[in-house]
């Protein structure tokens, strides 16, 4: 029987090259606060970023109408993904009353998304757009498709020293906030593992989690992150009701 006994937990070995010290950050209730450039960012458990000083709410990779994009090809995924993301977004807007809302690209799953949108979802989205300054950042999936719904379309957006764009630039880009990669973190313990969406940051730049209901994730240990975070990455993992920072050493590849 001793053979059935799993050996006592040993310290996890590093999966990637040992990182420098994790960036300074603070756990504030359910949120995690960190400084990027000259701005204080608040990472919210919903997967959105709040810039309190600029009253700006940032979400990324909404992938509206992903369900209908699949239905078009014969896979009838539930047609509620757009509404589910909108409802979460609306709750955030009501709670935080932002002056600016930024959707950081891939707001629609494809260029045809806006045309397929159900009337009630379109009305809900437009009522939100009407309440604040709404910026669509161009994504690789949707380009300028969202333009027809109102709001402004930008390739990149500057807020103070921050640069907001959809695809992270290769090489160093201090102050950049990007999306596109759908970061996910995997940690294990107690004989099993958990995989969740996360913010990924090294203290100089940050990649946003996907906000869309059906958006999958790419593990932060994947090589795709190597040109962005040369010295390791800290994951701000989206827990059930709070954000949990997890250091490089604990992150597992898929």
């Amino acid at each position: 029987m001793p053979m059935l006994h799993r050996p006592a937990a040993k310290p996890a070995r590093p999966r990637r090259k040992p990182a420098g010290a994790p960036p300074p950050m603070a756990i504030a209730g359910a949120n995690v606060e960190l400084r990027l450039g000259d701005m204080l960012l608040t990472a919210l458990p919903e997967g959105a970023l709040w810039l309190g000083e600029a009253k700006t709410l940032i979400v990324s990779d909404l992938h509206f109408e992903k369900g209908s994009a699949y239905a078009l090809r014969g896979q009838m995924l539930p047609p509620y993904d757009t509404h589910a993301a909108l409802a979460r977004l609306q709750a955030l807007i009501e709670r935080l009353a932002p002056e600016i809302v930024v959707s950081l690209g891939d707001s629609f799953h494809d260029g045809g998304g806006p045309a397929r949108m159900a009337a009630r979802d379109r009305a809900l989205l437009q009522s939100m757009i009407a309440r604040c300054d709404w910026v669509w950042v161009e994504g690789n999936h949707d380009g300028r498709a969202a333009e027809t719904l109102g709001g402004a379309v930008r390739e990149t957006l500057h807020i103070g020293a921050l640069v907001l764009r959809h695809e992270p630039a290769e090489g160093p880009a201090p102050g950049e906030i990007a999306g596109h990669l759908h970061p996910c973190a995997k940690v294990s313990g107690r004989g099993r593992s958990v995989r969740r969406r996360c913010f990924a940051t090294d203290g100089a730049r940050l990649v946003m989690p996907a906000f869309g209901a059906f958006a999958g994730g790419l593990n932060v240990c994947d090589v795709a992150y190597a040109p962005i975070f040369a010295d390791g990455v800290t994951a701000l993992v989206l827990g059930k009701d709070r954000v949990l920072p997890v250091a490089s050493e604990r992150l597992l590849a898929d």
Binding site: H5, A21, Q75, P78, P79, S193, V246, A253
Partner: protein, 875 residues
Amino acid sequence: MDARVPVLPEPFAAWFASRGWTPRAHQLELVRRGQDGLSTLLIAPTGAGKTLAGFLPSLIELAPLAAQGPRRPHKLHTLYISPLKALTTDIARNLETPVREMKLNVRLETRTGDTPPHKRQRQRAHPPDILLTTPEQLCLLIASAHARVFFEDVQAVVIDEIHALAPTKRGDLLALALARLARWAPKHRRVGLSATVADEEGLARWLLGASSSPLEGRGPGGGMTPDASGHAPKRKRQTSRLTPSPSPSPRGEGAIVKAPPGAQPIVDVLDSDAQIPWAGHTARHAMPDVYEAVKRAKLALVFVNTRAQAELAFQELWRINDDALPIALHHGSLDVAQRRKVEAAMAAGALRAVVCTSTLDLGIDWGDVDLVIQIGAPKGCSRLVQRIGRANHRLDEPSRALLAPSNRFEVLECRCAQEAVMDGELDGEQRRVGGLDCLAQHIMGCACGEPFDADELYAEVVSTAPYADLPRAQFERAVDLVATGGYALRAYDRYRRIIQDPHTQRWRARNAGVAQQHRMNVGAIVESEMLDVRLAHRAGARPRAGASTSTGQPRPLIAGRKLGQIEEYFIEGLTPGDTFIFAGQVLRFVGQRETDALVVPAAGAENPSVPSYAGGKFPLSTFLADRVRHMLHEPKRQKTLPPQVREWIKLQKRRSTVPAPDQMLIETFPRGGKHYLVCYPFEGRLAQQTLGVLISRRLERAGKHPLGFLASEYAMAVWGLEPMGDVDLDALFDEDMLGDDLEAWLAESTLMKATFAKCAVIAGMIERNMPGAARKTGRQVTFSADLIYDVLRQYEPDHLLLQAAFADAGEGYLDLKRVGALLRRVKGKIVHRDLAHVSPFGAPVMMEVGRVGVQGEAEEAILADAEALIGEAMS
């Protein structure tokens, strides 16, 4: 009944004689019934010439046709279906012998997933006389354009191992496919070949269809007629349409034929002198005795319940294998080539023992097995009988079996199983209600083949046993699920996968693309994500003395030889450096590369962790559990138990109590600063795990703050920091926990999500390769079934696929049906003992508690553990 004396025609009679055989009564009975065009369920023990009996009528009919020479028309005469691909090949080989020796010129071919495309095309254009195939291939054929032409000449369908197929989702699909086939070949007869089962009539009904025209008469030899009364489906047809003729069904007067049972098997329970462990599943204490038994046998099959146990038993037997007996290992994770090698060695008589899992339960007979050893409790009688049947395929000699219990509760279970085998009793199977996901797949398959009329198809569907009670409204919802996803929000009406012809009202696939998509996804087997286990070595590494890498950088690992496959979830729980036993050796996990788990040999490593969980894969059967509860309360039946087990029960009586069979004992006691509540439902690990989750939730609400729980096959323990003795136990175990508590848990249960994912794949909502998805490309995972489950549950909780998943949860991972039955059973029958110490029955459970730690939904806790580290680093 017919008084004709059945005579085997030539050249069959001569062939039997030339072999020195006399045809058996049940073989002749099948010939006679075949001549009359009657369907038959043949129930026969192993070694009774079952397969030959199934094929004889077809061969006799084909003999004169085949004499017409090679230019006779190609018509499919007999379709043979088996659950195992390997079995079709094996049966084809066995059948070729009589065909060749009698010079029958019968065309005989197999069709499986391995059959190359050009051969499939040829088979379609020029069908063989006899086609041996699997249920999945039958579904594929039905989903093809010219299915009717291909099947309309079929005279007989032979279904092998029907008892193993019928109670599964593959069985659902097969039953539906057979109903479709009956439309095209209305006169065909069916032959089901089955091992001994408890519910013969139920199986006959499955074979023939529930609403088949009333079957007259009662058959000979104890054969029972499936009774259609009370099973006539209540069909409401739309009045505006023509009433379709009910689906044709094979005739099957007195359909059951039973071969005489073989000699009574000799079953022994190992009565080892060694101390019988209180807990655990390795039976290591019994290995010397097992080894001695192997030594005395020619060839022993050593059955275990899990791959983990197989690995351990194999290691342990080799550790004491002083005579260097050839002992091999066989389980589902091993590389196919490795398994084939073991099978060939068995057949060649080169082995003395094979340690195996259920991979050798069914099908092919390799070699001359004369002893079956079951390590650990058998969990159910039917499986035990099946396994015992693997020994000695001669009817007149008894099979020999040895049961080796691995702990004290298992001694009771083995003893009860032994009694049941002697009494000729079997586990009662529950009648299976067909899955809605399988129904959806069938509907899509029909639309991809010959366009269907909804009324006709509904009549066909309810003519099958699994769907006999399907209401028309559910059928319509399933059609809608296939067409548009079946959502209340009619968002996808313009993307229909199947469309209705405005003139004929018949449904067909929208285009060739969706039909092709369907064919890629046929079947009810959804594998868990598997990783290849490969030996790794460093790039360019040479065992040169004194060679040191100049840079500190380790060279990259290169994946080498494949050892087999392992479930992804197991690897996910490992950290590089962990060791485990696999394929008979101790390995160290060094990392994962895409779909490979890289390992290096680690012979001599201490305490390797082991694949998979500690308990059994199959839960203790209800029937056997009931016998154990009774035995505990009847001192007379305990006389044959080993003294240490009798003493243990006596001690339990003195320190706590031994409950009556209809009662459930609950003990509460403090231990090591914690307070425990242990109950003993004897309902199997799955049901008790579900119970553990639900009871924990209730205790949380009662302010008891439980810290964890554990379920074994026999007991469930939950613990916390507060005393539990003052809880209202009747309220705690009230049946209403299956309401809101269950609902709340299902919302986040990973098991429920996994169940849903499988249903979604079978129903065609998610493509087969999707759930884990895109790992190989290294790009974004497209989506996961979990996200779909969350959204669907929130927005359309009564969606048909959620219903299907919930129905599966009732029987599968969560065993909800049994939890419900348990709660009803113990209502008002709870016996509580508030103790100062752990009781003798409780001790084994406590030992497991130390071993596995906290179970259940601990995701947030795992995240919090991971976070703790950064807390320190940040200070």
